[in-house]
Symmetry: C2
Subunit: 198 residues, 2 copies
Amino acid sequence: MDSARLVARRRSATRLAIAEAAARLFAERGVAATGAEEIAQTAGVSLRTFYRHAHLKQDAVIPLLEVGAERWQEQLGGIAPGADLRAAIADVVAHALAVDEDGPGQALTRGLVLTMLEDDDLRRVWDKVNGDSCRVLESILAVHLDGDDPLAAPLLAEAATAAIRITLERWAADGAPSGAPLGDAARETFERLSRWWS
Amino acid sequence: MDSARLVARRRSATRLAIAEAAARLFAERGVAATGAEEIAQTAGVSLRTFYRHAHLKQDAVIPLLEVGAERWQEQLGGIAPGADLRAAIADVVAHALAVDEDGPGQALTRGLVLTMLEDDDLRRVWDKVNGDSCRVLESILAVHLDGDDPLAAPLLAEAATAAIRITLERWAADGAPSGAPLGDAARETFERLSRWWS
DNA sequence: CGCCAGTGTGGCACGACGTGCCATGAAATG
DNA sequence: CATTTCATGGCACGTCGTGCCACACTGGCG
């Protein structure tokens, strides 16, 4: 029973090892100039194992972007049925980017985002991750407000993911966002995108 | 001098032939079960020529999504410097989806969007196309309103592309959008996403 | 008319990618 | 200790995507 958790930890550990090796090599030489065998060797796994965890070579970095994704799930699942959805989502957005504020992962994450925006292949991965996040969020929101407006869920999901994406892209490109914490910047962007409705 | 235009027409003709063949085969068997050689043969070109027009096998359908993209360019370029940007973009959004209203391309386009949303590989292409459109639009808008708010261009671009995307996805999935023309639906969605600022 | 760029195309070969299949080894269960 | 389960490794194989060269076509120039 407890073994399942242990196995899952080992799985995600190798996934992270592969992701970090891929991120480092991609940042150095780009995706096209990095062989899959090379990433696998750097991560200390076989080529076959590499492709078990990453369907495409470029997708190897995705686990690095999904840290904290499980936080979304529970935080969104814990919203009371009658609560103010917009305010609740604003909290989720702010909290999503407030993770490891000033932590050691800051520089690493920033370098990863920069690399993904510059490399043609990784930009496609960036678009896919954002698109998937938007679709997942929309399906979760649809449960909370089924009935009334069919556009409510898509628009709210779009506003939330766009706020996170735009904040991250500006942060990665322009350096620190004038000193304000990332979470607050994302919340402000989201509020600006969604303040017009109740 | 006129030859350049003629050559360009021949180029886009073969591009469209490849795109239509790919769209048909992808809809029938999916991307994974369709060989590149098969698409090339259906389009009447060589395998080498196919890969000259589509860097990736899945990207072969992109030209079908870019019809009318050049209309954006000139329409956006024709905006007066002092005009109301939000209203102008609303017109562009509405006009973009009003193209060949009730035309023969309606059913074809709807089938293509449906296929792209269902197939895992094509959904990545869908995300890429939308992301690229958003980035191009943002760079164009940045020229029109440089100076004041650095968030204005990203947010406006996001609202415009999201409005088009959400309208198209709902139209493809749920059938006709309760009788309203696509252009009007997209304009309404955009207004709703962007009405809060001047 | 003949020669010469420039350009789109086809054919070939080759490296890289991604997967199906089976064997191995380690950990949990009885 | 026997057995089941699961992640991994190794191998082979088909497909993808590209670099390179040759060919055909078109338009300009002496």
